[in-house]
């Protein structure tokens, strides 16, 4: 979906840069959460709804790494690039977060006009005060509203 590779299993070949120990535990937790979401049964869910947890966890992982590097500045550039290469975060999604107006973007599909009728963005990108229906869950990723204002 997002073009990332599976997080590599820790082998001896992979050389982890310094600072890895600090973030390793959180990343392992998030990985486990993703594994769970992948194996969830589909009972009681709509077809589109089954994929929503995947998008949510990708967003969460990328958010973690984005904050660590760009906001809190607690990891080195090397480590950051390492995480992106290994697939612990989505590079393209983080690239969007750096742009004004897209700081809270939920997923890349929701802002892609090519994916929508009439070349619009998804309804979750519309701020709540401009929408007619207040409670929505967008069909791609289950987002309830990712406009930067609210």
């Amino acid at each position: 979906m997002t073009g990332q590779t599976m997080p590599k299993v820790k082998t001896n070949r992979v050389k982890y840069p310094e600072g890895w120990e600090l973030i390793e535990s959180t990343l392992r937790e998030l990985q486990a959460k993703m594994r769970e979401a992948e194996n969830d049964p589909h009972e009681g869910k709509r077809k589109c709804e089954t994929l929503w947890p995947i998008f949510k966890i990708v967003h969460q992982k990328s958010r973690y790494i984005f904050y660590l590097y760009h906001r809190r500045k607690e990891i080195s550039k090397e480590l950051y690039e390492f995480c992106l290469d290994q697939g612990y975060a989505d590079r393209n999604l983080i690239a969007k977060w750096k742009k004004p107006g897209y700081e809270r973007l939920c997923c890349l599909r929701c802002m892609q006009p090519r994916d929508h009728n009439f070349a619009t963005a998804c309804v979750c990108r519309v701020p709540k005060h401009l929408r007619e229906e207040k409670v929505i869950e967008c069909v791609h990723c289950g987002c309830k509203g990712c406009a930067s204002g609210d």
Binding site: G44, N117, F118, E132, E133, K134, V135, I136, E137
Partner: protein
């Protein structure tokens, strides 16, 4: 049918179109509509041929609608591609065919291959320009159809469908569920079948409509033989007096037409009772002017006034009786009617007023200056200056001469009492004790609408002016008489 993998787009029989054939209700109330077009997206529900599917949302509260049957099928029956109701009348196919005695079913085959072949043939001919069968335009509408047809678009059918999970109690989507959380209405009407509806066979909605048409009540003539007036309701500012005249003149000579725009109604009075009856018979349930369905009923006369000592009293009673229900122009029209009769025969009971409006609420006599819109400066053309001064004078007069004014009517009645001072005061001038004033102020201005009515007031005015003493004393009796009359008129 055949797997047509190599498509020759000109030669194939599949349908392509540029815009759907749909009715107003299905198109929606929003003038800005975004529609997607998908060639060969689905197969027609009737003839199962692929066709161009258009999909749009008919308004904010609606679900998305899409064309269900192909244009060939819709043209064959002259129906909307989505709702399968007639394009002109908004009625099911069965109703329209029964009412207009069309039978289009013979030519259309219903079995599988035959039906596809027929549809393709028809389509090909239509595209080649041969006028295959456009009989729907030639049919004259008849009574039944006019009674049954839908005149305004019906947007309730565009609402979202019922949430089937909610019906079972299992809807987990909660607030964001786009489907309606209501219980479904079950019954005979809910077993509908698209093919039955299209072919006009065994359609429960159509059967219900046809039964209703058979039983539609005709307008009962009232027992009181002197009523020659029909009440027309549901008016709009688009409907003019000329429209009413055009519609009603055919049945008899119209005596008068009074339009009451406040109440969105009008009263059409004929010179003869037969004319009125004929109009009622012809037009009841069928009156549609400029797309507005109008309600037709017999006019109800107001209860006759218990006493009318003098013609003036009668006039005042009748005038006041409107109690603000009718605009000035109407009141002065009625003045017009009264003056001749009043001057002609003294003490003649006033002609009946025809109101389908409930009798006016109990009006107290006191009219405070603030209740008179003109006195407070509201502009009414052609009555303004004179009335202002006229009513002012009269107010000044009234209060000393009357008994102490009763407490003002409850607040809710104020809107209704816009006009009483006007109607109330109007007949006063000739009979009041300010003769110099009244001869000075031209009464003709006052009675602008009632041309022929002019003689009476000036007649009275000079007489009042010549006998100021008697007029001043003569005004005393009329005033108590007036107040008695007014008191009794506002039942």
């Amino acid at each position: 049918m055949a797997h047509r993998l190599l498509r020759d787009h000109e030669a194939d029989g599949w349908e392509r179109s540029d815009f759907p054939i749909i009715c107003e209700s299905c198109l929606g109330d929003n003038p800005y509509v975004r529609m997607t077009k998908a060639d060969y997206d689905k197969e027609c529900k009737i003839c199962t041929r692929p066709f161009t599917v258009f999909r749009w949302r008919p308004g904010r509260e609606s679900r998305y609608k899409k064309t269900e049957v192909c244009q060939t099928c819709s043209k064959l029956k002259n129906v909307c591609q989505v709702c399968l109701l007639d394009l002109e009348y908004g009625l099911p196919v069965q109703v329209r065919d029964t009412a207009l005695s069309i039978n289009s079913n013979d030519a259309i085959p219903k079995s599988d291959v035959n039906k596809e072949y027929f549809a393709e043939e028809h389509d090909r001919r239509a595209r080649a320009g041969l006028d295959y069968e456009s009989s729907y335009g030639k049919v004259r509408p008849n009574d039944t159809i006019l009674k049954l047809q839908r005149t305004t678009p019906y947007y309730k059918r565009n609402r979202a469908h019922i949430c089937s999970f909610y019906v079972r109690g299992e809807c987990t989507r909660g607030a964001e569920c786009p489907y309606r959380h209501e219980m479904p209405v079950t019954g005979e009407l809910s077993q509908q079948n698209i093919k039955d509806r299209y072919y006009g066979v065994n359609d429960p909605v159509a059967l219900k409509l046809l039964n209703k048409a058979g039983e539609m009540p005709s307008l009962e003539a009232p027992e009181d033989e002197s009523i020659k007036t029909l009440y027309v309701g549901g008016l709009d500012k688009r409907v003019t007096e000329q429209d009413l005249r055009d519609n009603f003149y055919a049945h008899g000579e119209i005596e008068s037409i009074k339009m009451v725009l406040d109440k969105a109604c009008a009263f059409v009075t004929y010179t003869t009772r037969e004319g009125a009856e004929k109009a009622a018979e012809e037009l009841s349930n069928k009156l549609v002017i400029k797309g507005l369905r109008l309600k037709l009923m017999w006019g109800k006369p107001q209860a006759p006034r218990p006493e009318s000592e003098t013609s003036e009293g009668a006039r005042q009673q009748a005038a006041v009786a409107h109690s603000g229900m009718l605009p000035r122009s109407v009141i002065s029209q009625q003045q017009n009617q009264f003056q001749p009769s009043g001057s002609g025969v003294q003490g003649q009971p006033p002609p009946m007023q025809y109101f389908n409006i409930p009798p006016p609420p109990q009006l107290d006599r006191a009219f405070y200056p603030s209740m008179d819109p003109q006195r407070m400066g509201a502009l009414v053309p052609s009555h303004d200056g004179e009335n202002k001064s006229g009513s002012e004078k009269q107010q000044g007069q009234h209060y000393p001469s009357q008994a102490m004014p009763p407490p003002p009517p409850p607040h809710g009645q104020y809107p209704h009492q816009h006009y009483p001072p006007y109607g109330y005061m109007q007949p006063m001038p000739p009979y009041q004790q300010y003769p110099p004033y009244h001869s000075a102020i031209p009464p003709p201005q006052h009675y602008q609408h009632s041309g022929p009515a002019r003689p009476p007031p000036p007649v009275n005015a000079p007489s009042a002016s010549t006998t100021p003493a008697s007029a001043s004393s003569g005004s005393a009796p009329p005033i108590p008489g007036l107040s008695a009359a007014s008191g009794s008129s506002h039942q």
